[in-house]
Homo-oligomer: 395 residues x 4
């Protein structure tokens, strides 16, 4: 494909007649002094129109560096606090430890601005999934600080479970929540600036965020996401189970701290006899599950039910109120962030969660497509013991 | 390295004089009729001693298939219930959907027996990490059903947080819990058959598991794991953040449903001003954090503090009591598992969690080792603006 | 899938009821002191039957190390020459440089014995390719030392090209060679111990190999391989072009030094007007090429014609005659290999080449299967300019 | 790192304050109707400044598509020949077979213009390799059509080898060629528009290229490349041997057909006794090889000697003289390329070869760095048998 290398990894793009061509270089050792001219020299040796022996097309092939250089074009600036302090719970200190160099601008690649590329890529995946499979991916804010959706709408982890044994597993997953998962749309979500599609809760969340903002503080929250119409059979055994890939994708989003699929942590408290999702005959004759504690995944593979999961985003580390903390040299002092920051990231995190979900589904779908096609071309197995009746291939 | 291919993936092992040589083949399309002879034919064309033109060493190179064949050597057996029923919340149904074929033996690669290989590999990683870095990885059972460690010992997600604003973040992380993370050993954990290192809690957990067992039922739980002495700087920006890799690894363990790092879901409720981990001067002159809500990771990169995380394991799906559920053909019936099964997996999951943690640390360490070595060989940058003083390389 | 990690890479195998379960661990730092007990300790903590709380199945889960340990169970032996000398053109010296440690047994993972795993994996791929696509992969020995197939049967690189401009490109590719590619079978190849399917040439090759053997010397050769009935469309743009993957696979076989696809090096001497493969209408209405200088690949993608390529294997480095060479400490001396070695590897290399070819085709096929399936599910594009008529999807 | 996914692969770039941020999306199914608006919708949901609850920074985050869309902004054009004909030996036909869709502009990703990204990335790698290791990578044109460097300067594959046994292996590798490899610089190469650093040969090559150009034809050639000062120990055992990675990289360059390392195909004709590279004590006390038939690689691992290899580039498929060939519908006709094309690509291929070589060395170096660092931190092994004396770690 378009990527080469393991630790020094090059990904190129571009064709004959497109707007630009280029490459993303990943894994360059930090601290390398590099100028555009270092690159231009070789581009100029490659470009057309160098001599009578090459094509007379005269193209300049001028290099443009989009990101990754720290100090090349930096404006001189005064000694500022961010030169002295590693911001608490930011990447300043860990990036310094990792790269042995301070990024001049914010948190380097840990910046939330990086997620723009994810959202763009996710939108492409999503278009395909929608057109071909009718897959719908909708995320919404399920909590801000301690303000949660009411328990009837709550994901399993937030449901009250008063008794040790749930009386009736069929009822245990709140019908309101199940309906919410089945019907919620982005349009409904976007009616609320909080992106929490429950009017009263949204109003309380707004107040909570405004309170954090006014206090020059910040607050965290959770995002719940549902993927509808996922074909059964996605996810790879062992290390790339569907939920493992989802967890990887979600925990790679800046500020995330927690992930749960289906019944999540709360599910660990429910006995197997109640937690198991019994099979029933579905409308189209295929099997379905009566409940969906599993969150649409069993044994790491999707079963065709709604996939739903919840992600925890911590309170943003950047706050304007002064914090007692040490400078790089260990001197204790007080740091207050300047600039304008999000007091709560979850409303804007919604499309990022959707994008990463789309990317995971798309990738797992393409992998499973390959297997399914490959298997469908095989002749029937002739050595099956008589009691082993294979289901039809189109299952 | 020893692996070739993207979807059809071959990994070989073996040398000149070792016990055996072989390969793991991943991604073979399901439903291929295959016999040992199919492979032997080509091995025999490759083996030494075929003719006078080759080495006279006479080696037989006989193929032995270890796993993956479904029906080749299967003993005839009676029509059993597992031929009729997809077991609820098992991989039977999803594997059938994925592969178009029913595994004759349990859940195929979703079997917990697969984790033996992980534990073996993790033990190798762990040996290195221990010898070179003194890294200690200790996991323990933190809950069984609703039986949790007492709140003073509880991970942040289980701490009571009564007020919206925590009064003193320095005290908010229970000292008992912090001490537990810093001191717990495998020996202490293994004193309890539950692997919960708190006598009273362990006793209550034992009762809970026995109750599940007697009821022919099962119960879930959580495992908390700490990694001590992790060097700062591990984890790759963007998609392979340390917690993303950990989450991927943990959610790939059978029966897992949830993952949280550091303060996890509960941390989303704590304002940034309280949740941030302020820096202080450490004993050796390097910076440390006064609290550790971050779980030892900031911006996706380890900061040198204890890495701790919690994993939710669902109640085992295999239970002996009868369950109402549909057969493959949609007919409703009643299924009761035979055989002897774990009523609760968390005590045995402890070494699996430790193994996957060791594998993640080892892999990220080797990647960071490369970068650090590469960067350390570069001459100082000469174009830094005067106000930009680089920290020393050995930081 | 079944592999986890980038530099420390773990691949597991095994299911519920198979012969064994296990893992291949790749990338463990060399020089780690490791015993089976290091691994057994954790396996024993994971195994069933540890206590009343777990399943009463009593399984031992005893570790068995198959390869990779150097000194654990090594028999004491006298100071031998191989302890003193790095064998010329062997991996002894480079492995020492790479790992900082001397392998006690031959060339470690560079041993040709490693290829057994490849042959086994290739046989599985081949079975699928044969059953579903009728793909045939046949390799044969095309030269031993200076003894080549006669020019009429020769691959393009060995054809005489006396004039600068070839008179008639249609005739330039020897008809005998083209026929050989189209018809040669493994049975025909295996009639000759040399695996060169041309009686006179095979006889001369036999003499050449015997001469090398008698002289306690060795000799190299080339293997030519054809892949018939490859579907058009295999190979990934940019870095994973079909020929790039083939070259990677072939040059990973021990003792290989050269690779050429289609017309290869000789093709560089033929003007484009003669070297281009013009299209003609094929029997089934699809296009075919009149000639096949391209070796079945254009723009990195297969075109449905025979894929053929040639690989050079050097003369084996292990020879019994004394060689003047330096010891590890620089002292000049004389080294003669003991033991029984192949005077020429190409006859035994034939199934290894076929195996690696099968693995490449299989992997590229699975990748392309996925794309083709994904594309086939899309609705027709509605925004095509009127002059852009899309070919039918089944093309 | 910055890439996520197996078949649908997303690579992002960008930081807080850089010129742009974005993503390369690889593996999107062909035929998806996509507009910028599909992407913008989600970007707008993510952007800052959407409401009072988010940061008031007002950023537009407007999407710009650089490449990959076929028909979006295409100017209407007349029915041209390239709509009717698949160009012989181009990617037109195979891309159509692969993607089921005709690229409107040249050969899609098979375009040589794509190599601009490689050259840029290679220049970054090269800078590091030069600064830290003094590694020098110099490629030059070694043949155009039948015009080769004189035999004394020729790579091994082009040396005359009249006798079966070379009399003296030490002399067999032409001294002139060895000197050329050791001393050639880019400045010397660039003195010649052909990039063949031998005046008479360059002149003849120029004539040959001009002749091709005047005949509206094209001609191929070979590029030889040397990598000097490569540390010993690079290359991974088994599948990622150094020469396998190099071959993969080189055969991924458009128009390449052949690769050989060191003595290459010709080396297969030289007996082992002559082909082996005996060790001698080097100046600094470390071992060196007296000859270098191996091309600096033994057992897949670099040995510290010059790495050299040769690549064959076919005659460009685009020629202006009319060619008899079939249209897509099978109708025979005559096609002549319009536009201005390179009659011979090798002069411009030189920096591309250097770039891919730099990328391979850099990647393998980073991998080996990691291992070396990891091994250096281990304590000495205590269980070595007494006769096993380990070399010093810094070897």
């Amino acid at each position: 494909m378009s990527t080469f290398g393991t630790l020094f990894r090059v990904t190129t793009y571009g064709e004959s007649h497109c707007a630009s061509v280029g490459a993303i270089v990943d894994g360059c050792p930090p601290g390398l002094e590099l100028s555009a001219q270092d690159i231009q020299t070789q581009l100029s040796r490659r470009r057309p129109g160098q001599s009578d022996l090459t094509t007379p097309r005269n193209e300049k092939d001028l290099v443009q560096l989009q990101s990754g250089l720290e100090h090349g074009d930096q404006r001189p600036h005064d000694y500022s606090e961010t030169d002295l302090y590693p911001r608490p719970s930011h990447a300043d200190y860990t990036y310094l430890q990792k790269y042995g160099i301070k990024a001049s601008s914010g948190g380097g690649r840990s910046s939330a601005r990086e997620t723009i590329g994810r959202v763009a890529a996710g939108a492409i995946a999503e278009k395909y999934l929608k057109v071909v499979y009718g897959i719908e991916i909708v995320a919404f804010v399920s909590s801000v600080g301690k303000i949660h959706l009411p328990s009837t709408f709550a994901p399993p982890s937030l449901m009250p479970l008063n008794t040790d044994e749930v009386d009736d597993a069929q009822d245990a997953l709140s019908k309101d929540f199940v309906d919410l998962l089945s019907n919620i749309t982005r349009e409904q979500v976007d009616k609320y600036t909080t992106r929490c599609p429950h009017p009263e809760t949204s109003e309380r969340m707004t107040e909570r965020i405004v309170r954090a903002k006014n206090a020059q503080d910040s607050i965290g929250g959770t995002v719940t996401c549902v993927i509808r119409n996922v074909p059964a059979g996605l996810g790879e055994p062992v290390f790339d189970k569907f939920e493992a890939s989802l967890a990887h994708a979600m925990l790679s989003i800046p500020a995330t701290k927690a992930f749960e699929i289906g019944s999540g942590f709360r599910g660990t408290e429910v006995p197997g006899s109640q937690h198991n999702d019994p099979f029933v005959r579905g409308e189209s004759g295929t099997l379905r599950t009566a409940t969906n504690w599993s969150g649409g995944i069993q044994g790491g593979i999707t079963n065709g039910e709604n996939v739903y999961f919840r992600i925890g985003f911590k309170s943003p580390a950047t706050i304007s109120q002064p914090q007692e903390t040490a400078q790089y040299d260990g001197t204790l002092g007080s740091l207050a962030a300047r600039g304008r920051h999000d007091p709560c990231v979850v409303p804007r995190a919604v499309p990022i969660v959707e994008a990463m979900a789309a990317i995971v589904v798309m990738d797992q779908l393409l992998i499973q497509n390959s297997r399914k096609t490959a298997a469908s071309l095989l002749p029937p197995i002739t050595t099956l013991p008589p009691t082993m009746v294979l289901p039809k291939k189109d299952a």
